[in-house]
Symmetry: C2
């Protein structure tokens, strides 16, 4: 498929367009075939955290989730970039207990919670952030749980040759229909490999979650992931968040997940569609606005829902006093 014009997201200040973002997007049907696109669908990119729902498949397919009796909040956290709020950390701590693991097993490194209230609370108490606060800690607990269930040592689970990464490459290769053993990779913010794939492969991968041709453990794992994320969107991100709000407001008609450097991916189960979005320059603000516009166009959000989420879908630019001085919007073609 030839490249087309990308979506342009404008950042205005008063009557002036101050900055411009180029955003690529690909839409696939439930079988994973491309049905529409903006920009270059072959653009090689790193999906980062946008495909955590696919990275959670081995946790379910291996039987680990069942063995440890993980509840759907935990499954949602396995797919999350959580904000480190009290309720997130409580469920994660319970999960650690269930598998008799500790934070020393985590390779993801610490950072202050994304949630400002939680972060300021830690600072006030003089607490240092731990790896559990890392937005990816649920994904890491999923990987560690799978290893323990299969009788493997989780030590070195971030390494390319560890069985944990082999399982992830297998799941990603099968769902994206793109060979992950033959592509370049970088190290994600949380320490594990993230693989270079064409943008359209990310959308195809998401389609696997709603593909009627999937069977057996893959099908039930996909259904489980979507059920958990739909039931507990707070555990996929957090308070005052675009991803959480879209899933909640649409009641699961749009299930989305963001990743660093301007990536979004998701499925619209009722519309039998999936999508992937990437800002060429990596800006998350533009990926969010483009994803919102795409969801409106595809029917993942109704016009009323889109408007009620205007804080995220049509964000304002404000000054330090809080006055609205500009906006982010899709440029007219």
């Amino acid at each position: 498929m030839a490249a087309r014009q990308p979506l342009i997201v404008e950042v205005t200040r008063g009557p002036v367009v101050e900055s411009l973002h180029q955003v690529m997007a690909v839409v696939t049907n439930e079988l994973g075939s491309v049905t529409n696109w903006w920009g270059n669908p072959q653009f090689l990119t790193l999906p980062r955290s946008a495909i955590k729902m696919l990275q959670a498949l081995p946790l379910l397919e291996s039987g680990a989730a069942e063995k440890y009796g993980l509840d759907d909040k935990m499954i949602a956290l396995a797919c999350s970039s959580h904000h480190g709020e009290k309720d997130h950390l409580a469920v994660l701590a319970k999960w650690m207990e269930v598998i008799h693991s500790t934070e020393t097993a985590f390779v993801c490194g610490p950072h202050l919670p994304y949630d400002q209230t939680a972060a300021h609370d830690m600072i006030r108490r003089g607490h240092k952030p731990t790896p559990l606060c890392n937005n990816c800690s649920g994904k890491h607990l999923g990987i560690i749980s799978t290893c323990l269930h299969l009788g493997e040592s989780p030590a070195g689970y971030d390494k390319y040759e560890h069985n944990a990464q082999k399982r992830l490459r297998k799941a990603l290769t099968e769902t994206m229909k793109f060979d992950h053993a033959k592509t370049a990779y970088g190290t994600d913010g949380c320490g594990i490999p993230t693989y270079a794939v064409p943008l359209q492969a990310i959308a195809t991968g998401m389609s696997a979650l709603i593909n009627p041709k999937e069977t057996g453990v893959r099908k039930s794992a996909a259904e489980h992931v979507l059920r958990a994320v739909k039931a507990y969107p707070f555990y996929v991100a957090g308070s005052d968040d675009f991803t959480t709000s879209v899933i909640e407001k649409s009641q699961g008609r749009a299930i989305i997940k963001g990743g660093a450097e301007g990536v979004f991916a998701g499925v619209l189960p009722e519309k039998k569609l999936a999508f992937a979005v990437k800002t060429a320059d990596g800006a998350g603000r533009a990926a969010q606005v483009a994803t919102a516009a795409l969801l409106l166009q595809l029917g993942g959000l109704t016009e009323a829902e889109f408007k009620s989420l205007s804080k995220f879908t049509m964000p304002s630019v404000t000054n330090w006093k809080g006055d609205v001085v500009g906006q982010l919007r899709i440029a007219k073609a």
Copy 2:
């Protein structure tokens, strides 16, 4: 001048180019004529905080700085986007005292100090940020001081029709050789107008600071600004900062200032050159890398200085554990 290819700043992760920024740049000689450029020199943009040295001219030209006996740390702060560190706030508080003003006069709104240690310290003590913490508070004190010296009420100094803004438009029109009374404007983060100007006009404006044809109060004001910024780079930004480090390391051979949405502007007095830089998508990370490369090319930084500032000039991408997993760099043409 016709548009040329912009500079491309790549963000890599492992062997993969994950994101790409387009950066425009214009170089002018000491008379303000364009000598070199990348991208479109006519690109209409908002200079934001990158021209604070020009915005400080009325403070000096009006005689306000002299009347109030402002020292060179205060003049540097008038040109600053300071980080709200203890030493910044102490000098700003002294300045407020000298002019018998209080923070209620400020329109800039509060935000936590940019400096993380200072911000965490405020959070720990349960202090709320005040307008003095705003990175622009020095500029605002300069504007208020000028009003008071001239016997004007500073009230409403952020309004387009206030004498303070008329003075700023006059100084910017004269230095940039671009009519600010006839161009669109937006509201800056700190509440005052920021005017839409071609990128090359920003470079031309900076040239006015080193233009040998300037005379009288303009010339002495320009020399005073450069002298103060060169003597006190910490008061122009703060600890662990690209701008402060470049001015310090080059011992004033490169005097630069950044602004929001990916703008940089500066002068190289010995080389008799000025420049302006703007990332099309507004990313500060790319503007910084492009500015560093430009300074190296123009001789504002020696190769040894550029390397010793590698943290800023050739920044690494790190994961949460602190491992280097990629870098920012200028793409090979």
